[in-house]
């Protein structure tokens, strides 16, 4: 009977601005020698740790202090907001939410200007600048307008 050994190594590191990033790697291997569980575990641990450590050093996008703050509490945050609102392809919410908002607009033949007005009324922000929580609130309001509240999954 084949004996399988499953190993997983996960690491989460804190980043500035209350954010964090994490990475995990899992492997499954067949043990050649069932007596060597300890040795094989040690080998896999070192291998996985080495690989996770090598990858997690790349932090990707890290928000600056004040990122996402309403009213742009510092200059950097302000210029970031302005830049993003000028680029209609950059949205702060998740891709899933962006697609959902666009689908509601399409399916219900809503005027995108109305959506912008609603976002402004609720959050005083352009749609593209809504964070994920604000986008969720906008989706509810749009569904409510379209008379479909309760159908959200």
């Amino acid at each position: 009977m084949a004996v399988r050994l499953i190993a997983n190594y996960s690491k989460r590191l804190g980043l500035p601005g209350y954010s964090s990033h994490q990475f995990s790697v899992s492997v499954e291997t067949e043990l050649r020698d069932v007596q060597d569980v300890e040795g094989e575990s040690q080998r896999l641990y070192q291998l996985l740790q080495h690989n996770v450590d090598a990858q997690i050093q790349s932090t990707g996008f890290v928000p600056e202090e004040g990122y996402g703050a309403n009213g742009a509490s510092n200059e950097n945050a302000h210029s970031e907001h302005s830049a993003e609102s000028e680029n209609p392809d950059t949205w702060k919410c998740s891709e899933k939410q962006r697609n959902f908002i666009q689908k509601i607009v399409r399916d219900n033949r809503l005027d995108p200007k109305e959506v912008a007005v609603l976002a402004d009324e609720l959050f005083q922000l352009p749609v593209q600048n809504l964070n994920r929580m604000q986008a969720s609130g906008l989706i509810d309001a749009l569904l409510d307008q379209a008379g479909k509240k309760g159908g959200r999954k």
Partner: protein, 272 residues
């Protein structure tokens, strides 16, 4: 109550729905009694709504409408809210409604009206304070666990995560802190993930169904790094238990109000 109800067998494939997503209520149910969790989320045995739960849900909905109205209109119209009161009660009663005894529905409705009028009169939140969100659904994806979902009752202007509860009596703050700890851990994490900001703290607002109804506000501080680690451990333990199909019962005081008592008692009768 029937003592012949049966606890179904659990197979590896039947646990799928229980792990579709995570939520504070799933975790809390698991922590309270693993068998109750299995009956509710694995076997999906539906149970009728109790009058107390119906009243709680109804008041929750009315406070939600109060919050939405002030958010969108900047003010609250008592007249419109009272119209909503009638329509919402009828609409909810048509759905998941309790098996009312004679005159019980009328009595509960009167109780709800008195409590809601108390809310409108003494609401501890300024009407003109703009919320960040009302009944807002937040999600967090992770490589380590299924999607974490939470629906936050209210996020106030300063980032305080507020939850509304209906209770028969005032709950001491220490007890509230423990009772709703799992929810606070989940909601705080979701708030941070969704806004990239730190929550200002938590607030539980109790609508207390005493003879003279009252509103009690209890505040709690923002989460610490240790709190976040506790949630990670909580989720890991939950996932391990469900995947191992560890659905052992936890007998105790909470059995008195558990909706699955018949299933548990049925098991005891067969064993004796």
């Amino acid at each position: 109550m029937s003592a012949t109800a049966v606890i179904p067998a659990t197979t590896e494939s039947s646990i799928g729905p229980a792990l579709e997503h995570l939520s504070a209520s799933r975790l809390k149910c698991w922590q309270q009694c693993r068998r109750r969790f299995a009956l509710r989320y694995v076997h999906r045995i539906a149970k009728p709504v109790s009058p107390a739960l119906f009243l709680g849900r109804f008041l929750h909905r009315m406070v939600q409408l109060w919050n939405l109205q002030r958010w969108k209109d900047g003010q609250v119209s008592e007249e419109r809210l009272l119209e909503h009161f009638v329509v919402e009660w009828q609409s909810m009663a048509l759905g998941d409604s309790p098996a009312w005894k004679d005159g019980q529905e009328k009595a509960e409705r009167t109780k709800a009206l008195v409590l809601f009028e108390c809310w409108v009169k003494d609401a501890p939140i300024p009407v003109d304070e703009r919320p960040q969100g009302v009944e807002v659904r937040l999600e967090m994806e992770s490589a380590d666990h299924p999607l974490l979902i939470g629906i936050l009752d209210l996020v106030r202007a300063d980032g305080t995560v507020t939850d509304f509860k209906t209770s028969a009596r005032t709950t001491p703050p220490d007890q509230l802190a423990l009772l709703h700890r799992t929810q606070m851990l989940c909601y705080g994490t979701l708030y941070r993930e969704s806004t990239w900001e730190l929550e200002a703290g938590f607030e539980i607002i109790e609508l207390v169904k005493t003879k003279v109804p009252k509103i009690v506000v209890t505040r709690f501080p923002a989460l610490s790094e240790c709190d976040l680690e506790e949630l990670d451990e909580m989720i890991a333990s939950f996932l391990q238990g469900v995947r191992n199909r560890d659905f052992a019962p936890s007998y105790g005081q909470h059995c008195s109000w558990c909706e699955y008592r018949a299933e548990c008692l049925g098991g005891l009768h067969r064993n004796n």
